[in-house]
């Protein structure tokens, strides 16, 4: 069992190692330089910071590079079918509302095959935290176009450039009714920690879009360079929403907003259901 809080002077790696399944499963499947490991560290630090017990945390994922994340973590971990992680997680959460249920998903998993479950979980405002690791491409299957691949970008299934247009996941979630929406990048690690902590504390559907790098496929096919170059791109193109509020539009040209983007209060599905049970059993 892990204590609720850690002394501040502890090394970051000391914290994360306590939450890893170090005996089995390593080395991991990710390419050197991949951003998914960074997101894993961020999730673990956030859980540690909030003092959640390992037994009460459930990580649910679908299929893809990002969905391999749970297997390395010493929580309750469900690696489910492609695109369906949010539906599985909804079942877990409704059955045991006291558990902290976190969905780890990728842009293909969440927005293509899983798009329907994603928008409906937003609409239902069920208390899940979805960490959407967006690397703009299908990594595990070898660099195919995803719903997050920008227009004209190259992928193995868009060899002449992508004719379609990409989803903006944070806008999609807002339109669908999510109650907490944030975005960060694997370069802005401290910000990402904060966003995940906020998402976990939120009662309702929360989304954190973690912009990540797939230099192996996206970077190579689009001549965006290696992992370092792609992180540098994130550093240069991310703009905190707080800062952006006070800037003229021309300063925001070519930038994308990060930080907390949306935060509203509304009734949460499991709590409302609990009230219904109380009412009917009276």
């Amino acid at each position: 069992m892990v204590e609720a809080t850690k002394p501040e002077d502890k090394q970051t790696s000391d914290v994360t190692h306590q939450y890893l399944r170090t005996k089995k499963n390593f080395p991991n499947v990710w390419c050197p330089g991949c951003g998914i490991g960074t997101v894993m560290g961020s999730i673990i630090r956030s859980i540690d910071k909030l003092g959640y017990k390992k037994n009460e945390v459930v990580l649910v994922s679908g299929i893809g590079c990002s969905s391999r994340l749970p297997v390395y973590c010493d929580f309750n971990t469900l690696h489910t079918t492609h695109g369906r992680s949010i539906a599985f997680a909804s079942g877990v959460k409704v059955a045991k509302p006291n558990l902290k249920v976190i969905v780890v998903t990728g842009d293909g998993d969440c927005l293509a095959i899983g798009g329907n479950h994603f928008i409906h979980a937003c609409r239902r405002n069920i208390d899940l935290t979805v960490i959407l690791i967006n690397n703009q491409i299908y990594g595990m299957t070898g660099g195919q176009c995803s719903p997050a691949t920008p227009n004209l970008a190259y992928a193995t299934t868009a060899p002449y450039g992508n004719l379609e247009h990409n989803f903006i996941p944070v806008d999609l979630a807002k339109g669908a009714g999510a109650s907490y929406i944030a975005r960060s990048t694997v370069y802005h690690v401290q910000q990402m920690d904060k966003m995940i902590v906020g998402a976990l504390q939120k009662k309702g559907f929360s989304l954190v879009e973690a912009i990540s790098n797939c230099h192996t496929y996206y970077g190579r096919l689009n001549k965006e360079g290696d992992a370092v170059a792609m992180l540098k791109w994130m550093k240069e193109h991310a703009m905190s929403a707080k800062v952006a509020k006070n800037l003229p539009p021309e300063k925001l040209e070519g930038k994308f907003l990060t930080g907390l983007l949306w935060d509203v209060e509304k009734p949460e599905f499991c709590e409302e259901y609990e009230k219904l049970i109380q009412r009917l059993q009276k």
Binding site: V58, P70, N76, T81, S90, V92, K96, H117
Partner: protein, 381 residues
Amino acid sequence: MPSSNTSARVLMQGNEACAHGAIYSGCRFFGGYPITPSTEIAEGMARMLPKYGGRFIQMEDEIGSMAAIIGASAAGLKSMTATSGPGYSLMQENIGYAYMTEVPCVIVNVQRGGPSTGLPTKIGQADTMQARWGPHGDYNAIVVAPASVRECFEQTVKAFNFSERFRTPVTLLGDEVLGHMREVITVPEEGELEVISREKPDVPSEWYHHFEVTPNLVSPMAAVGDGYRYHMTGLTHDSEGFPTAKISEIKRKLDKLYYKISRFYDEIVQIDTEMTEDASICVLAYGTTARAARQAVHMAREKRIRAGLIRPITIWPFADEHIREHLAHAKKVLVVELNMGQLVNEVRRIAPRHCKVEQLNRYDGEVLNPVDIFKKILEVK
């Protein structure tokens, strides 16, 4: 709606009986999506579950419904969904996931005409093979099929018992006529029917293996959040649940999925027979079709034809040995189905040499009536 715990005689629909049977079994989670002709089950569960402290969720599609019931069952609640042809097809991938991860749950398929959208308001029995072979890959399946409203209740309880006992998804195969038929039934009293719940681990968490290969092959199952932190994956996995590509582990896993059911064949097989002892011709049918077949057999007896009835209640695993026994003296077996011929091939596989297999099929959305079957008996006897 009557309470599930009274022994009152009530007029009930097959679909309602299914919902009441689920509540009786201790089902406390239902995830579903509306589809004719199964919707009354979801409606019944939406009404009853919160009263029993259970939970109902209407999902965005059948894929999500199946996922949600697996999640809820992993979290410790007995869980069910109900659907019909197109929805059942959508569920197949996640049913395969439930086979692989050994999560107990019950899927009700109230069969209608197919393929595709087919005949939403008419009867069919063409999902017989899909219920066995729906998801890709190797596994073993348990499928039960009631033939009366009271049996809809009882077999739902049985389906839960099998799923909990063997840690596996179980399909209850109904049909449109049975689902919408009303009969007066005596609702079983509490304690009248056996209700089985999954075995929980009694070892410290550090010794716990979620997929331990026990002597009877069924592993005790901890719920998510019980303090046993385990990994569940649709990837082929070892006894701890971690992905593996080791040849020995792969075979061990698939053997477990297959033999944990086939080894308990005698416990799982249920078969109902009438007058087969001296029968020279046996009629084999299940579900609504078996009701007409029974009548036809009685009509034949009145004409001094030695006819008998074989009605499998457990469709899968197919009751090879039991059926073979009942065919020991029969010269003919007439397999009657509302499809183009599915179970008939199973019967051909197992029928003794001296017993010729005949078939009668209808697949135009209508039921076979007793006279149709009686005429066929006269023709082939």
